[in-house]
């Protein structure tokens, strides 16, 4: 069984942060969930459990950052992107403190805990704050690279992680770049621009469609901000229609970011957004939720077919 994204994250923190004294890790009493506790076990002197106090955690991180440290703050994505935002805006955005906001349990991956614990607006919220890079992990290799890059890059970042496993998309030696999407599969009839777990699902849908004679390009747009404008424009020129796929509200997330690029460049390529409608989700098994909110492989394939008809 593949490792969950949260485990990959915890291990990467140790791998890249253990011997780097600048790295400090803060958690709001959920370290056994976020897996920042793996770092706590190896580098306890640079791990700080601040209790259930997310806003204070971010402010403390700003203090660390202003002293030259590289602070990783950890809690559920839904809490970091709500309780943490005043500090994110004031210190990380405006104040340019290179805080790494690690959003555990992105999307509906904390499935059984229900709507209160599902993060479906986090990308929209963090994307609106000037000066914060927004990344979404879509597989284990990418997650590892994101942690390494977060340490190497002196910028504020919001990273959406997941509680769950994700399909493998990349070889261990894959090269990534901030602000550059990845074409996972070529295609002519449509492009699906996806992020997170939806990238793997979209790829699977594309292979199903291939057998039916439909050629679909799949892009993993893991860097939501900055976004790969050139690649979006290229897809708009080269394929007849574009779909976006995200485990997030249709308002303000990846779909909106792609729409901004298309409209802003006068590109009339049709755009269909796959995402969560303007509503609250429910508790249930993760797989069932993805199906219920039409984010599963079959729903994606159906949506593509309805677009190119």
């Amino acid at each position: 069984m593949a490792a969950t994204i949260r485990e990959v994250y915890g291990n990467a923190l140790v791998k890249y942060g253990k011997d780097d004294d600048r790295v400090v890790v803060l958690d709001a009493d959920v370290s056994s969930s976020t897996k920042s506790n793996i770092f706590a076990q190896t580098s306890g002197e640079r791990f700080f459990n601040v209790g259930i106090a997310e806003a204070n955690m971010v402010a403390m991180a700003a203090g660390f950052a202003s002293e030259g440290k590289i602070p990783f703050v950890n809690t559920f994505a839904v809490f970091i992107s709500t309780l943490g935002t005043l500090g994110a805006r004031t210190f990380a955005g405006y104040g340019r403190a290179p805080i790494k906001f690690m959003g555990a349990y992105g999307g509906m991956s904390d499935a059984f805990d229900g709507a209160t614990h599902h993060a479906i607006e986090d990308i929209a919220i963090m994307r609106a704050i000037p000066g914060i890079t927004v990344l979404v992990a879509s597989d284990a290799v990418l997650t590892d690279w994101i942690v390494k890059t977060a340490i190497e890059t002196p910028a504020a970042m919001y990273v959406r992680l997941s509680r769950d496993t994700m399909p493998d998309l990349y070889r261990p030696d894959e090269k990534f770049e901030l602000g550059k999407g990845k074409i996972l599969k070529e295609g002519r009839d449509a492009t699906i621009i996806a992020c997170g777990i939806m990238s793997g699902f979209s790829l699977e849908a594309a292979y199903i469609l291939e057998k039916e004679g439909i050629s679909v390009r799949v892009v993993d747009m893991f860097s939501i901000k900055p976004i790969d404008e050139a690649l979006i424009k290229q897809c708009a020129r080269e394929t007849k229609t574009i779909l976006t796929a995200e485990e997030h509200s249709k308002i303000g997330g990846l779909g909106s970011a792609v729409a901004e690029v298309l409209a802003g460049n006068g590109l009339g390529t049709p755009l269909t957004m796959i995402g969560i409608n303007d509503c609250y989700t429910q508790s249930g098994p993760y797989k069932d939720l993805l199906k219920a909110y039409e984010l599963d492989v079959n729903s994606i394939a159906d949506k593509v077919k309805s677009c190119i008809r």
């Binding site: 400090v24 002197e45 640079r46 700080f48 601040v50 209790g51 106090a53 806003a55 204070n56 955690m57 971010v58 402010a59 403390m60 991180a61 700003a62 203090g63 660390f64 950052a65 202003s66 002293e67 030259g68 440290k69 602070p71 005043l86 500090g87 004031t90 210190f91 405006y94 104040g95 340019r96 403190a97």
Partner: protein
């Protein structure tokens, strides 16, 4: 080893001039917060001129004590004092709150030398101070962190989250100073959100609590000395102050939290401040 009477007198005289200059600036630009700027004057002066190590020639000197004005709306007084210390030319003060100036409405760290982090949204400065104090301890840096809070700001729940953290991590390199002027924007603290026995509150949160006369340079300095002797726990100094101190019609009046000053009021204020010793 207290501050000499002569030195304290010199600094208090400096404070009188700071008050005159801040009122003059606020009158000139017709925007900004007079009340809290006047109440925090001696606290900031005691820190920047006497108690906190700070080096205007090298604002990022690792050996400096860190000063965080969490009540960022008192920026006009902070700016006046930073200019006097030589962090930037006094001429810049004329650009207070104007477009293109580094002297923004609230302090901004990437624009103004001597400012550690942006402040203004209340309730977050103490958390920053806690992070800094922990970071200094990790680095075995003996510098102190001073965090100045407004008392209205203590309405914010984050302050108490941060207070718990300061105590948990035994931050004896953190000294919090509360500008206890008893008045916030909409009214008195008692009317808006009573703080009850503030000293007991901080005691209960694990602080060593001191109080002092917040307009007496000597008392502030002595109390800071005592706070520096505390081991294994953070300290708080509750500095009793008067909002709008030095201008009779502003004293204790919430209306002067952020109101512009007209010409009649301006002349009265200057006359009164010039008459004080």
């Amino acid at each position: 080893m207290g501050i000499s009477e002569e030195r304290a007198g010199y600094l208090e005289n400096l404070c009188r001039q700071f008050r005159i200059d801040v009122i003059t600036q606020l009158y000139a630009v017709q925007t900004g917060h007079p009340g809290g700027s006047l109440s925090v004057c001696e606290i900031l002066t005691a820190l920047y001129f006497e108690k906190a190590r700070n080096n205007p020639q090298n604002p990022n000197d690792p050996g400096r004590d860190r000063i965080i004005l969490s009540k960022g709306h008192a920026a006009p007084m902070l700016y006046r004092i930073l200019a006097e210390r030589g962090y930037f030319p006094a001429d810049d003060l004329k650009t207070l709150r104007q477009f293109g100036s580094h002297l923004q409405g609230h302090p901004c760290s990437h624009g103004t030398k001597g400012v550690e982090v942006p402040t203004g949204p209340l309730g977050l400065g103490l958390g920053v101070a806690v992070g800094k104090a922990l970071s200094l301890q990790l680095d075995k840096n003996p510098a102190y962190v001073y965090c100045i809070l407004g008392d209205g700001e203590l309405n914010e729940g984050t302050i108490w989250e941060s207070a718990m953290s300061a105590s948990k991590f035994k931050l004896d390199n953190l000294i919090v100073i509360v500008d206890r002027n008893h008045v916030q924007l909409d009214g008195t603290d008692e009317e808006i959100m009573p703080l009850l026995d503030l000293g007991k509150k901080f005691d209960a949160f694990g602080f060593r609590t001191f109080s002092c006369e917040g307009h007496s340079i000597a008392d502030i300095c002595d109390t800071i000395d005592r706070a520096k002797d505390v081991r294994s726990m953070p300290s708080v100094i509750i500095a009793e102050t008067v909002k709008g101190k030095g201008v009779s019609y502003m004293e204790g009046q919430n209306a002067w939290h952020g109101n512009p000053i007209n010409s009649q009021y301006f002349e009265r204020a200057i006359k009164e401040l010039e008459a004080t010793h």
